[in-house]
């Protein structure tokens, strides 16, 4: 009887050990198989907590997701004056259409695109739209421009992981992909009644 008790934890340990060994090999490979090039340094190969938690086919349990999301929520930078407007939808349109920036062929880490069209439909006249994310056509026309939706949209643009820890969407503001001014322009592209998104 006593033997059985011991045997079970041992077996568990063994399988955990194998998995960890593979994980260690992956982590080692993600460094040794790469080299730094321009602005793309080897730091990019190291995962933060969110990336690590979301690197398997199955997401973490609900409690972990909530904990991670709360931590990301705290990282959102809200507009200091509480004002989400002031952007130019035409600028926002350019940012949405550009998928450039932050690769090893980009000289500067600034002036990046938002790559929105890579995954979302926005202007109904654009044929070449991605489908990984939901359609944003008629964004404000369908959702209005109440405080809640405006605030949510800012937060989602700044740090998508605050709303879904394993979201496929980049953390534009937190990750330094887009500046606050650029996010304001994208907000205008989504909310301005004159924007093609709302036609």
């Amino acid at each position: 009887m006593k033997k059985l008790f011991i045997a079970v934890p041992l077996a568990l340990c063994a399988s955990v050990a194998v998995a960890d060994e593979l994980q260690a090999k992956v982590e080692e490979m993600m460094l040794s198989s790469f080299k730094a090039n321009g602005i793309a340094s080897l730091d990019r190969q190291k995962q933060d907590e969110i990336q690590q938690a979301c690197s398997s086919p199955t997401p973490p349990d609900a409690a972990t997701m909530q904990r991670l999301q709360a931590a990301e929520m705290a990282k959102i930078q809200w507009p200091a004056d509480g004002n989400y407007t002031g952007g130019d939808w035409k600028e926002g349109q350019k940012i949405a259409a550009s998928g450039r920036g932050l690769t090893w062929t980009d000289k500067t880490p600034n002036n990046n695109g938002g790559g929105c069209y890579n995954c979302h439909a926005m202007d109904p006249n654009e044929v070449s739209e991605g489908t990984i994310g939901p359609s944003l056509e008629g964004y404000a026309k369908l959702r209005g421009n109440g405080e809640e939706i405006v605030k949510y949209t800012w937060g989602k643009l700044w740090n998508s992981k605050a709303y879904h820890a394993c979201s496929d969407m980049p953390r534009n503001g937190y990750g330094g992909i887009l500046t606050e001014a650029q996010i304001r322009h994208v907000m205008a592209f989504l909310f301005d009644p004159a924007s093609p998104v709302n036609q």
Partner: protein
């Protein structure tokens, strides 16, 4: 240099293809067959291209068939086929309306060769594609829109 050529050079200002071609000495006497139609390839509008080719306002004909996809995955390579069912077809041209220079390619069809050619062209954007056919001295045409899409991450 004849008058037509000088006019064409004037029209193709800046970095236009004509200027560049002139600098690399395109027209060479040793070419075996009729010299490349510089003026037609330099035409910047459909009407101008038709005029240079002496086509005037060609009639749309159901006997000219343009085989292209409705939508292209990329504009750098768009397959275009032309079949003319008009007897006596001696010449076929492919034109892209919204390209900087309309005329993409032209084919002279000798007796015994079928009026059926296929090639691939570049398209800068969604545009109408034209097939111009000359048969027994008369011109006919067909047109079809090809949508050009943008792919990839854009980075």
């Amino acid at each position: 240099m004849n008058h037509q050529r000088r006019d064409a050079l004037k029209a193709g200002s800046g970095l236009g293809v004509l200027g560049l071609l002139a600098t690399v000495g395109l027209i060479r006497p040793e070419m075996a067959h009729a010299a490349w139609n510089e003026q037609a390839f330099g035409a910047k509008s459909l009407d101008a291209a038709f005029e240079v080719l002496g086509a005037g306002k060609p009639a749309v004909s159901g006997d000219v068939v343009l085989n292209t996809p409705d939508i292209a995955e990329n504009g750098a390579v768009v397959p275009v086929g032309v079949v003319s069912n008009i007897p006596g077809t001696e010449y076929v041209a492919i034109m892209i309306e919204k390209n900087p220079y309309m005329l993409a390619a032209s084919f002279t069809i000798p007796e015994g060769t079928q009026a059926e050619v296929q090639t691939r062209v570049k398209m800068g954007q969604t545009s109408d594609v034209y097939a111009l056919v000359k048969a027994d001295g008369k011109f006919y045409m067909a047109k079809k829109e090809v949508k050009v899409t943008l792919g990839g991450c854009g980075g």
